[in-house]
Each structure stands twice: as structure tokens, then as C-alpha cells.
């Protein structure tokens, strides 16, 4: 879900700014990154819920704070000098950092038993 959202946002951003960042991020890398982050999050969730009674709450807190901290990665990233408009890159990638955690929070209640 995060990968789909990221790809849609990537297309919207390209149409809005007409700046092509496809040599840095593209459909493949967005799917791979989002799948990787979501799988890692799933493993962390499994571990935390196994070892702590309030593991789910701890996980949500860690995932949210971790996502927020990761904002610095796209902001600090140095792009190839051939890439025009590096100042627009954070506008594309910073929101994407939150897509996995938003997707998690959206889907997670569906798996909860009352």
C-alpha cells in the first residue's frame, strides 16, 4: 500500500514540478524500499509483541518516532551534480518517509480481533 502511494505521489510530483528524479528514485526502488521497510517493521512488531505485553503500543511509538527521525535522510542526501533542482528533492521524498507508517496504522486495525 505504501509502495502504491509512493508511486502515485511520485507521478503527481513529476507533473507538478516537471523535474525528473527517476535516476535516483523510480518505481522499482520505491517498491523495494517500501517492501523492505514494511517487512522490517513487521519483524519488529512480531518481536515486540512477543516479549512485551504492551508490545503493540511500544511498536507504534517506535515506528512513528523512527519515521519522523528518518526525515533527515532525504534532506541530507547529496544528489549527483547533473541532477537539476536538488532543492525540490525533499518535497518529493520527505512525505514518502511517512507512507509505510501511515499504511501500517491504516491496515493494522483490520487484523485486530475485538
Amino acid at each position: 500500500m505504501a509502495a502504491i502511494a509512493a508511486n502515485i505521489y511520485n507521478q503527481i510530483y513529476f507533473f507538478a514540478t516537471e523535474v525528473d528524479y527517476s535516476n535516483i528514485i523510480n518505481m522499482g526502488s520505491l517498491v523495494g524500499l517500501n517492501l523492505g521497510v514494511s517487512l522490517a517493521a513487521g519483524l519488529l512488531y512480531a518481536m515486540l509483541t512477543k516479549f512485551f505485553t504492551k508490545g503493540a503500543i511500544i511498536f507504534n511509538f517506535v515506528y512513528s518516532v523512527g519515521s519522523f527521525a528518518c526525515v533527515i535522510i532525504p534532506i541530507a542526501k547529496t544528489l549527483p551534480l547533473s541532477q537539476p533542482y536538488p532543492e525540490l528533492f525533499p518535497g518529493l521524498t520527505v512525505p514518502m518517509v511517512f507512507f509505510p507508517v501511515i499504511a501500517w496504522m491504516t491496515i493494522d486495525p483490520l487484523f485486530k480481533k475485538d
Partner: protein
Amino acid sequence: MKKQIYLLASLALILASAFTFIQSQNWKIDESYTVKFDGGDPSGEFRGLKGTIQFDEKNLAASKFDVTIDVATINTGNGMKNTHAKGANWFDAEKYPSIAFVSSSIAKSAAGFEAKGTLEMHGVKKEITLPFTFSNNVFAANFEVNRMDFKLDDGRHPKMMPSLKVSINVPVTK
């Protein structure tokens, strides 16, 4: 009559030669030029190279560089660093919009050529010697600039190298 014509023609030739001055070859800067700098972190490049390049290997006395670079074109590959570099704490692009080099003399050296002249950056003028080579219609220069000489220091980056390695590659056409 013929003698007089030849005499007049010779006189005209001598007079004309008195007003002839040796001019060096004028070169046009090709758009594929690069002006790169390496300060560890950040590193990057400038665009906006303009000016006149008069250069003739056989007539160095008449050769001259008078070029500028647009400071606002600095690109480190990171938008935040670009803004920071153009800001008042570093290059202050608004107050000092260009970096200029004007040569005063060009001489042959062991490795190629050396251009002595004034480098003006960040409002500071300094005499420098710029070593360069010229082959296949490409000027190439590698040298170091001490940023402290040009008051390029905000005092908050002690780990940043005081010297910037500058690498210039300028293809030219006639």
C-alpha cells in the same frame, strides 16, 4: 609613373603596419565546461562562466583572461547546502554575485602555463598564480584556494577543509 605607384604602395604598407598591433586569438567558451570545487563536504560545481579568453601560445604577452562565475549557480547536489552556500554566512551571492579572475600576465611553465592575476571572491581581491594547460582546444586547471583568504568561514564548520581544491575544464572554440 610606375615607380611612383610602387613608392606610394610601399609607403601605404609601412604606414599601415605602424598601426597594426599583434592580437591574440579570441576563444569562445563551450557550454560543456566544468568548474568544480572539492572541500570534502561540501563539494560541487559552479555554472555561469562568462568573459573573454584571449590566448595564443606563441604570443603570451598579448594573451589575457577576464572571466567571471555566477555565484548563485553553485550546486553541491543538496538544496539545503546550496541555500546555505549562497547565504550571507558564506558566499553572500546577493552582495557578491560573481567570482572574477583577471590575468595580468601569462607565462610558460614546466607543466604548461601560469596565469598571474587577481581573483576576486566574496568582496576580497587577491593576487594568485593559476597553473593551467592548453591542449586540443581545452583549458584545464587544478589548483587550491584558501577560503580563509577570502573570508569564507562562518566559524561553525571546524572540520571543513580550509583549502578548496578547484578543478576547471574549459573547452573552447574559435
